[in-house]
């Protein structure tokens, strides 16, 4: 059974159709990279998967649970679907430890003593164990993003969504975050990443999705499709990004 199953979804903002009959099925352990020009609907697709945006047609299933079923408890769903944003969105009033353990403590009802160990564990995964008691404003952009990834990992999600998580970073900080993503992928996490890092998509992606005008314009095995795009639009996009 696929972890994420998107069937013919339609998403509109008013009269603007942003996702038009999009389908995508993601198996356990797959790393899907989503490419496409700004405004093509990449972020919106991710936000539909964890129910941050309601859809107007089609269906989305995560681990067999229908997201847009009124009976679906979004709070339960979101424990299974982690999302990391371009702008980190850490809680500035909480320490790194509390950022990470807030949801485990109040949503998953973990004891405080246990949750500190949990925070230490996920911070080790992103290489920031020494920042347990730091506050977000004392971290660099790359460190903030790694904490955001750790915060998401702490929920033990079944799938993780990444929305241009390196786009707000200086080039020299991009590498450290990509390295963390690589580690998360190597640990077997199911991932859907919106990114402009073609190199990462080629090396670590299982499949690549090219979105264009709210549709999945092209989809295929990562390395092959990137080397040999089948549509003129994807070819044009790639040559613009690579040159």
């Amino acid at each position: 059974m696929p972890v994420v199953e998107i069937n013919n979804i339609v998403k509109r903002f008013g009269s603007n159709t942003v996702l038009d009959d999009v389908s995508l099925s993601v198996d356990r352990g797959e790393v899907i990279t989503v490419l496409g020009r700004s405004g093509s609907g990449k972020s919106t697709m991710l936000r539909c998967i964890n129910g941050l945006e309601p859809i107007q047609g089609g269906s989305i299933r995560v681990d067999g649970v229908e997201v847009n079923d009124p009976a679906c408890d979004l709070r339960v769903l979101r424990q299974n679907v982690g999302i990391v944003f371009q702008s980190f969105n850490l809680f500035p009033h909480l320490s790194v430890c509390d950022n990470i353990t807030l949801a485990p403590r109040i949503v998953q009802r973990q004891a405080r003593e246990h949750s500190r160990d949990l925070a230490r564990g996920v911070l080790r995964q992103v290489g920031l164990e020494d920042k347990l008691d730091a506050f977000p404003n004392s971290l660099s952009g790359g460190q903030k993003q790694r904490v955001a990834i750790a915060r998401s990992l702490a929920m033990h999600p079944k799938v993780m969504l990444f929305d241009e998580v390196t786009s707000a970073l200086d080039p020299e900080l991009t590498g450290e975050v990509l390295k963390v993503l690589e580690g998360v992928a190597a640990a077997g996490m199911t991932m859907i990443l919106v990114t402009h890092e073609i190199g990462f998509a080629r090396r670590f992606g299982s499949r690549v999705v090219f979105m264009h005008h709210g549709k999945v314009h092209e989809i295929g095995p990562a390395a092959e499709t990137l080397a040999n795009p089948q549509t003129a639009e994807f070819a044009a996009f790639l040559s613009a990004v690579l040159h």
Binding site: G82, F85, S87, F91, P92, V107, R151, S152
Partner: protein
């Protein structure tokens, strides 16, 4: 009969300052309750509820505080009810102050980026958990300085309650001044008493503001 201004008068004025402080405290609590209700109404998903809160604020802020006090005290008395001046004063200040605090607190919550709500939602927090653990703690930092500023205004405005027969420090000053015929001395003491109450609050507010700005 005219008598001299004696240390005893200072004691009386100090005694009246208690009522000023009590009135300010009661009015602050009342304003906070009204303000909390208004700020919560502004977050409602029902348009009518939000609209009601907006209309309330507009209505209240378009009428002077003194007129509210007269309405609640003399106006209601004319309708045949026996109005306690303390009740009228605290009610009037709460109606008025609540509109102000409601706006301050709503503004503070509104200044928290929507991405903070989303980050909470994405972690599986319910709306009330997002409010309690993410939005309110950040809003409080922003709202504390203007809230203390409001309290300082409130302390000074309690002098208006002298007009409906509450014997707070300004009213006591009027009486002492009439008896001693030394308005300059009396009102200087009254002024000093208000200042002694307000100045530490202002300083506290400023130091908090500095602290929060440094933390950003």
């Amino acid at each position: 009969m005219i008598r001299g201004f004696s240390p005893n008068d200072i004691l009386f004025l100090l005694g009246a300052l208690r009522w000023t402080a009590l009135l300010a405290a009661g009015a602050f609590v009342g304003s906070a309750v009204v303000g909390l209700v208004l700020a919560t109404m502004r977050l409602s998903r029902f348009r009518a509820v939000r609209w009601l809160a907006i209309v309330y604020v507009q209505l209240v802020q378009g009428i002077p505080l003194l007129v509210w006090l007269f309405l609640l005290y003399f106006g209601v008395a004319m309708l045949g009810f026996n109005v306690d001046p303390w009740l009228a004063a605290i009610l009037g200040f709460s109606i008025y102050g609540g509109a102000f605090l409601g706006e301050v607190w709503r503004g503070a919550m509104g200044s928290i980026e929507v991405t903070q709500w989303e980050a909470g939602a994405a972690l599986g927090l319910s709306i009330s958990q997002q409010l309690r653990h993410v939005i309110v703690p950040q809003s409080v930092q922003i709202a504390i300085p203007p809230t203390i500023g409001f309290l300082v205004q409130l302390i000074k405005n309690t002098s208006l309650a002298s007009t409906i027969g509450i014997l707070e420090v300004t009213r006591e000053g009027q009486l002492t001044s009439a008896a001693t015929y030394q308005p300059m001395t009396v009102y200087l003491v009254v002024a000093a008493l208000y200042f002694a109450l307000c100045f530490p609050l202002t300083q506290w507010s400023r130091s908090l503001e500095r602290k929060f700005n440094a933390g950003r």
